[in-house]
Subunit: 883 residues, 2 copies
C-alpha cells in the first residue's frame, strides 16, 4: 500500500487519506499553481504507526526518503547542504479540521552548518540565526515535549543583558549566544546533544506529528466534536520558502475581488523583503496590490492569472496568501474570502452574470442576516464620534434626532417637522404613537425582546434598549450617562447595529440596495416554496409590505385600530356597558371607524389576501390601572371633589377590579371575548364586509380573510362561524352582492396544535401565532421572564437562544410539526402559515419550510430577509434530497 | 327462513334477530319462569316488509297464524272467543333500546262480543268497557294514526256530562256511551267501521309496529345515536294478563335484595285486585312483600324461588315486575335493580361470598363515584329541614356549625372547642388556616374548581360554593338569604352533596364504611396495576393517607409550611433581602422549622416514599397587595404618621411593584426561583436530609424524594441537581452517613412533556402536575376562566366537561401520552406518576392507567375511590384484551 503522496499525486477528493491540508495543497498543485513542493504521509500510515506500538511501519522510512529525494530534485536544493539548503516544514493535517490541535515544526533541516550557509546566502545572519533559534525552540517543544518557556527565557535573558526591548534589536552576537545556550539546555534536559542530522530531525518530527493525534487536548476535542479516534492524522512535509531573501522577495495577501464593495479586481497588499508575519506586524507600510500594476507589472499580471484560475476553479472570491522568493511567486494558501454584506450580494450576482455560478448558488452565497443589515441606515464608519453609552442593539439602523422623554411630545414635535429620539425607561403599548413618530428609540431597561425592541423591529425603527448606563430623570427631562448630561431637545445619534449612544449628530450612510439585491431576490422568488406575507396593521405598513414584495397580509391586528383618544373613550364605554344593547350602541359608533381602517388596508392590498384578526387583547388593556384610579380617588378626596365625580371614579375602580385578572395572557381575551360578547365580533365582521363591498363597487378586488385568535377547541370556531356568516349575509343584502371570504384561526395554544385535525375541518386556513404559542408551550410569560430569569437562563446556557427571537424547535417546533401533520391529513386544502416574530427570522424560516408551511408572515421590513431565507431553505432541501 | 319464534324458541343471545324485548322474554321463558306466553316476529321480517314496499312477505301471515294457534293451545283461551277470550299485546322491540320510540297496542282481540264476555268473566263490566275504550283509543292512534285527542275528548265530555272528575267515577253506562261514540268517530274519520275481526286488528297492528321503525322521531333518534337504519324492529305478540280479575289477582314489584342497604331478602310491594299502573298511582296502600310471608306464605315462597332463580341466572340483584291472575303468578319483566352506594357494595361482596360472582365482577359492580359518597357524613334523610339557599355541591359531606366570617376567628373558635362553618364571598390561600379549623365552607362566589372548592376537597371538608342566593355583609357580620338573616354565631347546616344551606342544626348520619368496603378495596388492590399515593402537606394529611391505604406521598407542598404568622414574616424578610447573604441568614432561621415539618411527615410515612416538592409559588403570594399598601400609605399620610413608618411602607410598595407580574402563573416561580436564588432550594434540601438523618438515628426508615416544580427544559434539572447533591454530601458529613434519595420533577409545561426523553435521562421520577399542565396546554388561567367564560363554555357545549375536574384527554391527555412514551423509551426505569386533582377522578384514572402510569397521587380522602377506579381500569383492559 502506498503510504506517501507527492502533492502532484493528490487532490481535494482525497481528504480522508491526505487530510484537509494535504488535499488542499495537492489541489492547488494540480491546478498548476506554483505551490512550494512537498509530499504527504497518509492518515492510514498514522494508524499503522499506532498499531505498531508507536514505531514506523516497515518500509515507511524508505518511502519517505524516496519522496525527499524527488523533492530535492524538484527544488534544486539539498537537505542538509549548507551551499543551497532545503529547509522543510512538518505539519499535521487531519481529515476534519481540528484548529489549535495541529503540531507544526518549521525550518527543519537547520543545523550549525546550514545556518552559516543560510546567512551567507541571504546576506542576513540575523535572519538565519533567528530561524535557527526558533527551530530549536519549536523542535524542543513540539517534538521533544521539553518546557518551551525555558528556551524562550534564554532569549529574554540575552535581551535583558543587552538592555533591548524588541526582538529585532538583539545583536547578531546575542542571537548566536541564544542558539548556543539553547543547544546546551537541550543537552542538559535530554542527555543528548541537539540533533545535527536533518534526517534524524525529520524522523523524530514525523513521529511527533503522529503522536500529537493522541495528545489529551486532541482526544478531548474529538470527544466533544464526535470525531472518530481511528481517523488518524496525515503528515505534510513541504519546502520552506522565504520572502525575506532580498528585495526580489516578498510576502503578501490578496482578495480576488474587493471584499468591501464586491467590485471586480485584485485587492490586497504586498511587502518586499519580508516574511508573512512582518506584513501582519506592520513594521513597514506595504504596497497595495493596485500599485503593483506600475511598480511590478509582471508580478501583477501573474497574480491576476492566479486569481482568475482560482476563481474559475473554486467558483468563489478567494483570500490568497503568497510569497515571492527571489522573484518566484509561490502560492501558500487559498480560501474563500470573507466579505461585507454588500460585497456578498454584488459578487454573487456578478458571478452568475460571468457564468461562474448558477442562480441557486448565488442565493446560497448570501446570508439572509447580511441582507437585513443592508436595509437600514448606518453610522458613517469614517465619522468621528463620542460614544457616551452602550446598550443592546435591539433593532438595526442608525438614527439622529432631538431627545424627548414623552411619547405625546414626540408626536407633537414630529408634527412640527422635528426629528426626535424617544428616550424612556421602557415602553408600553400606549407609547406606540410616539414610537412611530420618532426616528429611533432608546430605553434604559428591557432586553432584546422587550416591548420596545419588538415594536421597533416591527415598525422598522432603530432601537437601543436595556442601556443601563444611562440614568433617566423623566420629571426633570434629562438623562445622565457617566458625566455627560443630555437634556430634552439636545441631539443624539443611536446605532441599533452596535448599541452605541453617541453625542450629537453623526453623518449616516443611506442604505443602498443596489440593483443586485433586487436581482438576487427575484431569483430567490423563483426557487422558494414558502410564501412571504407581511404583518401590517395600517395603510403605511401595507404600502411598505407591497413595496418589499409581500404576497399578502398574514396578520392585521384590529385592536391597534381601537387606540387613539376618541376610540379608546368609546372602547371604555363599551366595557362599562351593562347590557348587550348598550354595548351594541357603542359598537355602532366604532363600526364606521373600523370600516374606514379596513378599506384603507384592503385598497392597498388590492387583489391580495388580507388576514384580519378579530379583537385579541383582554379588555383591561384599554382601561387605566387600579393604582392609577386609586391615586386619583385619594387626590379627589383630599381636594374635596364633588361626590358625583368621586362616585364615577369608584364605579370605574369597581369595574377595573372586576375585570382584572390573575393571568390575563391566558384569561378572558380573544375569541373568548368574542363568544361572551358576540356583538363585538359581529360588528368587526360587518365592518370588514362593508369595507370590502364598498371597495368592490369602486372597482377594486378586496380579499378579506377572517382570523379568530386564541382558539382552544374547534368548537369555538364552530360557534363563531355562524356569527360571521350572518354578518356576511346581512351585508350582502345591503349591497346586493356577497363578499367571498376565507375563515381561519391562529394557533397559539398547545391544545389547538394538538387537535389541529379537528380544527382543520372547520376552517380554510390556520396561522401559527408563535409569540403566544411560545409563551404557552414553554409556560413562559414574556413580560415576566424578560427582565428576570430569561437573561440568567441564557447566560447559564439553560437556554441556548431567546425563544421569542429564534423559534424553540425542540419544544414549540414539535407542536408545529404535529399540528401541520394532523391538519393536512384532515383537510388537504388547508392553508398553513405563521405570523409570529419568528416568521422573519432565517433559522426559524428554515424549520418552517422543512415542516411544509405555506407561508410566513413577518414585519414588512424583514420581507427581503424572509424571501431569501425561504429560497435557501428550498435549495438546501433540494441538495439534501440529491445526497 | 323462519320468521316467527315462540318465546320458548329464543334466548338472550338472539337479540339481533328478536330484539331486546323479545330476547328477554324468551330468556325468562327458557329459565322456566312463568311468563305470559307469546311469540316474536323477527327484525329480518321487518326489513323484508320494507323491501316488499310495506306489504307482508309471502307466507308470513300463515306463519303468524300457526304460532297464534299454538298460543291458544298453550293458554286454553281463544282469539275472539267471548267465552274465554285471548287478548294480546303487540309491541315493537329493536335490537338496541330506543326508549319512547316503541309503539304498543294493548288488549288487542277486543270487540263488541268479547267485551261482553269479559264483563261476565270478571264480573266487572267497568273493567271490560274501560279496556275496550282504551283499546279503541290506542288502536286509532298507533295503528291508524288518527288524532288521539279527539278520542280522549269523547271520554272527557262524558265525564263532564255526568259531572265527575276522576276516571273511575264514570258510570258503566257512560263508559258504554264512550265506546259507541268512539267507534262512530273512527268510522267518520276512516270511512270504515271499527274492525271487529281480531285477525284484521292483529294484521294491521303488526304492520303498524313495523312502520313505526321509520317514523320521523325514530329516524332522528337513530341518526343521533348512530344506530344503523337497516336493523329493523321485531314485533312481540303476547297474551295479556290481568291483576284486577278479583282478590286472587294482583300486581307487584320486587327487588331480590334490599336496594337501600343491600341486605339479603325480598323487598317490594304488591296490590291485590289491581293492575300494575294502580300500584304506581297509589290508590290503595299496597302490602309489603315482607307481609306476604304471613298473609300468603305460598305466594311468598313462589316469589322467593323466582328471585333465587333470577339471581342465579343473571348473577345480580333484580328488579322484577309480576302479575297474579286468578292465583297464577306471571313474571312480566326483570332487570338489574338500581341501588344505593351502600347496597351496591354489600351486594357485590355478599355475592362473591355466595359464589355467585367473582371478585373481579364485584369490583366492576361498584362505581367509584358511589364509594366517594360513602366516605362522608350525610344529612339524615328522615330529618325535617329548612333550606334557605342552594349553591354548588363542591365537596361532599354535610357539616353543622356556628357561622363565622373571618378565617382567623374560625381558628380561635375552634381552639375554644366550637364547631364553625366559614362563610366567605370566596377564599384565598391565606384563609387555609381558617378552612382547616372549620367543619365546612360556604361561599357566595366561585365554581366547582374555585379555590374554596379545590381546597375543601383536598382537606376533605364539606363545601357549598357559588351560593349566589346569599348576600354576605362582612363588615356587619351577617348574611341574608331571601328574608332570612343569619348572624355570626348562629348555627347552620350545609350539605355538600346537594348544595343545600339549612337553617339550624340537622341530625347527620355518620359514614359507615362497613367491612364490605374494606373487603372490596382489598380485592381491588389485588387487581390494580396503578399505585395509589396521596397528596399530603402535613402530619394530619399523612396519617389520613396511611389510614386510607396510600402507598406513598406523591406531593408534599413545602410552601404551605411557610404560612403562619411567624413564618410569613420571615419569608417577607427573605424577599426584601438585597443580597444572597442576607437571604441566607433568614433562610437559616426557616431551616429548623422546615426540618421539623419534614420529620413529622417522614415519620408517619416510615418506610414509604415521600415526594417533597421544593418551593413553587411566585414570591408575591407571600406579600400584601399593592392596593393594600397604597391604602395604608394614604391612611398613614392622613393620620400624620412618622416619616420612618411611611418610608417603610414605601419600600414595601416598591418591592411589591418590582416583583409584581403580568402573568405570575407562567412567570418567576418554582424552579426558576430556585435557579435565581439557589440558596432557597439549598436550604430546603438540607432541611429534608437533616430531617431524614435524625429519623434514621431514631430507628425509622425515611424515604425522601425531591421533586422540582415547573421544569421547562432538562437543563434546569441538570443545573439544580448539584445543589441538591451538595446538600446531601454536607448533611452526610455532619451525621456520618448518607441519606439515599430520588430526584425528580413535575411535568406542568407542554414543553416538558414534549421533551420528556431528555428529562428522563436526568431524573429518577416525573410526576404530571395536571392542574398547571391543563392551564398551560389549554392556555386557560383557572382563576380567570372560572368566574367568566368557563361556565358559558360548559353551558354552550364548547367544552363537555370542566377540564380542571376531569382530565382533558383529547388535548392534555395527548401530551401525557407523548411524554410517557418518550420518557419510558429514554429511561426504562423512570417512575411516572400524576399529582394533579385528576389523580382521584375515576374517568381520568381510567385514562392514566391506559397510558401506563406507575401511580396516581390524590387527596387522602379520595384514596378509596382511586383504589377502586384503578382496579376497574385494569380489569376493563383485561376484558378488552380478551375480546
Amino acid at each position: 500500500m502506498k503510504r506517501v503522496y507527492d502533492f502532484e499525486e493528490g487532490g481535494k477528493e482525497m481528504k480522508a487519506l491526505l487530510g484537509g491540508k494535504g488535499a488542499g495543497l495537492a489541489e492547488m498543485t494540480k491546478l498548476g499553481l506554483r505551490v512550494p513542493p512537498g509530499f504527504t504521509i497518509t492518515t492510514q500510515t498514522c494508524i499503522e504507526f499506532f498499531k505498531a506500538g508507536g514505531r514506523f511501519p516497515d518500509g515507511l522510512w524508505e518511502e519517505v526518503l524516496e519522496h525527499l529525494k524527488r523533492l530535492e530534485e524538484k527544488t534544486g536544493k539539498r537537505f542538509g547542504d549548507p551551499e543551497n539548503p532545503l529547509l522543510v516544514s512538518v505539519r499535521s493535517g487531519a481529515p476534519i479540521s481540528m484548529p489549535g490541535m495541529m503540531d507544526t515544526v518549521l525550518n527543519l533541516g537547520m543545523n550549525d552548518e546550514v545556518v552559516e550557509g543560510l546567512a551567507k546566502l541571504t546576506g542576513d545572519p540575523r535572519f538565519a540565526y533567528d530561524a535557527y533559534r526558533r527551530f530549536i525552540t519549536m523542535f524542543s517543544d513540539v517534538v521533544m515535549h521539553l518546557d518551551r518557556h525555558k528556551f524562550e527565557e534564554i532569549f529574554e535573558e540575552e535581551k535583558r543583558r543587552e538592555g533591548v526591548k524588541e526582538d529585532p534589536e538583539l545583536s547578531i552576537e546575542g542571537l548566536k549566544r541564544v542558539v548556543e545556550r539553547q543547544k546546551r539546555l537541550y543537552e542538559e534536559l535530554t542527555g543528548k546533544p541537539f540533533p545535527q542530522d536533518p534526517y534524524e530531525q525529520l524522523r523524530l518530527a514525523i513521529a511527533a506529528v503522529f503522536n500529537s493525534w493522541n495528545n489529551p487536548r486532541a482526544v478531548k476535542y474529538r470527544e466533544i466534536e464526535g470525531i472518530p479516534d481511528d481517523m488518524g492524522t496525515a503528515c505534510n512535509i513541504q519546502m520552506m520558502v522565504f520572502g525575506n531573501m532580498g528585495w526580489d522577495s516578498g510576502s503578501g495577501v490578496m482578495f480576488t475581488r474587493n471584499p468591501s464593495n464586491g467590485e471586480k479586481g485584485l485587492y490586497g497588499e504586498v511587502l518586499f523583503n519580508a516574511q508573512g508575519e512582518d506584513v501582519v506586524a506592520g513594521i513597514r507600510t506595504p504596497l497595495s496590490i493596485e500599485d503593483l500594476k506600475e511598480v511590478k507589472p509582471e508580478l501583477y499580471r501573474e497574480l491576476e492569472e492566479v486569481a482568475e484560475k482560482l476563481e474559475r476553479h473554486y467558483r468563489d472570491m478567494q483570500d490568497v496568501e503568497f510569497t515571492i522568493e527571489r522573484g518566484t511567486l509561490y502560492i501558500l494558501q487559498t480560501r474563500t474570502g470573507k466579505r461585507t454584506a454588500r460585497a456578498a450580494i454584488k459578487i454573487a450576482v456578478d458571478m452568475v452574470r460571468e457564468g461562474l455560478i448558477t442562480e441557486k448558488e448565488a442565493i446560497m452565497r448570501v446570508d439572509p442576516k447580511q441582507v437585513e443589515l443592508l436595509l437600514h441606515k448606518t453610522v458613517d464608519p469614517e465619522a468621528e464620534k463620542t460614544v457616551i453609552a452602550k446598550g443592546l442593539p435591539a433593532s438595526p439602523g442608525a438614527a439622529v434626532g432631538r431627545v424627548v422623554f414623552d411619547p405625546k411630545e414626540a408626536e407633537d414635535w414630529r408634527a412640527k417637522g422635528e426629528r426626535v429620539i424617544l428616550v424612556r425607561p421602557e415602553t408600553t403599548p400606549e407609547d406606540i404613537g410616539g414610537m412611530v413618530a420618532s426616528e429611533g428609540i432608546l430605553t434604559s431597561r428591557g432586553g432584546m425582546t422587550s416591548h420596545a425592541a419588538i415594536v421597533a423591529r416591527g415598525i422598522g425603527k432603530p432601537a437601543v434598549v436595556g442601556c443601563e448606563a444611562i440614568d433617566i430623570d423623566l420629571e426633570r427631562e434629562f438623562f445622565r450617562a457617566g458625566d455627560v448630561v443630555v437634556k430634552k431637545g439636545e441631539i443624539i445619534t443611536i446605532d441599533g447595529l452596535t448599541g452605541e449612544v453617541i453625542l450629537g449628530e453623526v453623518p449616516l450612510v443611506e442604505p443602498k440596495i443596489g440593483g443586485e439585491l433586487e436581482t438576487l431576490l427575484s431569483w430567490a422568488d423563483k426557487y422558494r416554496r414558502l410564501g412571504v406575507w407581511a404583518n401590517a396593521n395600517d395603510e403605511r405598513d401595507a404600502l411598505k409590505a407591497r413595496e418589499n414584495g409581500a404576497e399578502g397580509i398574514g396578520l392585521a391586528r384590529t385592536e391597534r385600530m381601537f387606540l387613539g383618544v376618541e376610540r379608546v373613550a368609546l372602547v371604555r364605554q363599551m366595557i362599562m356597558a351593562d347590557t348587550p344593547e348598550e354595548r351594541r350602541r357603542v359598537l355602532e359608533k366604532l363600526l364606521p371607524m373600523q370600516k374606514e381602517d379596513f378599506k384603507r388596508i384592503l385598497k392597498v392590498m388590492d387583489g391580495l389576501p388580507v388576514q384580519i384578526r378579530l379583537l385579541d387583547p383582554p379588555l383591561h388593556e384599554f382601561m387605566p390601572s387600579e393604582s392609577e384610579i386609586l391615586a386619583r380617588i385619594y387626590e379627589l378626596e383630599k381636594g374635596g371633589a364633588p361626590p358625583e365625580r368621586l362616585e364615577e371614579e369608584r364605579r370605574l375602580l369597581e369595574k377595573v377590579r372586576k375585570i382584572s385578572e390573575a393571568n390575563p395572557m391566558i384569561g378572558l381575551r380573544a375569541c373568548r371575548l368574542g363568544i361572551l360578547y358576540p356583538e363585538i365580533y359581529e360588528m368587526q365582521a360587518r365592518a370588514i364586509f362593508e369595507a370590502a363591498s364598498e371597495l368592490k363597487m369602486e372597482g377594486y378586488d378586496p380579499r378579506p380573510e377572517i382570523m379568530i385568535p386564541l382558539t382552544m377547541t374547534h368548537r369555538e370556531l364552530e360557534y363563531i362561524k355562524p356569527i360571521i356568516e350572518k354578518a356576511n349575509r346581512e351585508v350582502a343584502e345591503k349591497y346586493g352582492f356577497r363578499i367571498p371570504y376565507r375563515y381561519g384561526t391562529m394557533i397559539e395554544i398547545p391544545r389547538a396544535a394538538l387537535t389541529l385535525d379537528k380544527i382543520a375541518r372547520v376552517v380554510d386556513f390556520v396561522s401559527f401565532g408563535t409569540n403566544d404559542l411560545t409563551q404557552t408551550t414553554m409556560g413562559l410569560s414574556r413580560d415576566d421572564a424578560q427582565g428576570t430569569f430569561l437573561p440568567v437562563y441564557l447566560d447559564k446556557g439553560i437556554l441556548d437562544e431567546d425563544p421569542f427571537y429564534t423559534l424553540d424547535i425542540e419544544g414549540v417546533g414539535q407542536l408545529l410539526r404535529i399540528g401541520v401533520e394532523k391538519g393536512r391529513k384532515a383537510n388537504p386544502r388547508l392553508k398553513i402559515g405563521i405570523c409570529g416574530e419568528h416568521g422573519g427570522e432565517p433559522k426559524s424560516i428554515y424549520f418552517l419550510h422543512s415542516i411544509g408551511l405555506d407561508y410566513v408572515s413577518c414585519s414588512p421590513y424583514r420581507i427581503p430577509v424572509a424571501r431569501l431565507a425561504a429560497a435557501r431553505a428550498a435549495l438546501e432541501e433540494e441538495m439534501e434530497k440529491k445526497d
